[in-house]
Symmetry: C2
Subunit: 108 residues, 2 copies
DNA sequence: TTTGACTTGACAATATTAGTCAAATATAAT
DNA sequence: ATTATATTTGACTAATATTGTCAAGTCAAA
């Protein structure tokens, strides 16, 4: 597996690597440092907009970060569900089916 | 694939098969018929508790229904996301990893 | 043409999420 | 040790999303 790090951990690492303070980055996002602190420690979820902004500010790959972010959102949704893994598999089958169907239609 | 029907469609079919009216079933769930109507037409999501009750009232397999229900919740979460399918795959990898880790710990 | 089943949409109540702020805790430099 | 700066914590507020009611509307069958 490529990466088992939480989004928050990635953000903190990269921020520190760049020598930026919470206050610098949170100012760009226009939120209090408290929230960014919580995001980095996975105590809160960021919004999608904040993620995109963070990718910019911290020079992280937007797509990779977003994928990881969405994945965590999905996992959060099923974290207490015994049937979560099964549901994920079904969801994957269904999204494949849907995407296949749409591909067929796009060309009309 | 086993089943491409939406949960709502399943519910409506089964209810009609049993000759039950919205009012009968919604009374058991203790909600207005309007909501059940919307649930059956996928205009609203049911709660987990409602799903379990519906499985009972309509003699549907609880596990299957819940899996399908959770799957739809997941899909709803990523319905407008270009990266949704990728995120799903990552989520699946990660949940496998987490479950494996927990299995290891359970036996301590 | 009325009756019963379902649908629709406006609205209200409630729950969840996103945020601020100030005080408490580190961390680090004098 | 003392102060200065960075981060964390938690109580509180604001905004948004979810869940529900209700009444009026549509539709089909008797």
């Amino acid at each position: 597996m490529k990466n088992t790090k939480l989004v928050g951990e990635l953000l903190r690492e990269k921020r520190e690597e760049k020598g930026l303070l919470l206050r610098h980055v949170s100012a760009e996002l226009d939120i209090d440092t408290a929230i960014l602190s919580k995001i980095e420690r996975s105590e809160r979820k960021a919004t999608k907009e904040q993620m995109l902004k963070l990718a910019e500010v911290l020079d992280l790959n937007k797509e990779d970060l977003l994928v990881q972010y969405l994945s965590e959102k999905i996992l959060y949704e099923i974290k207490d569900e015994e049937l979560g893994e099964k549901a994920l598999k079904v969801a994957e089958q269904q999204i494949k089916y849907i995407n296949k169907k749409n591909k067929g239609i796009e060309g009309v």
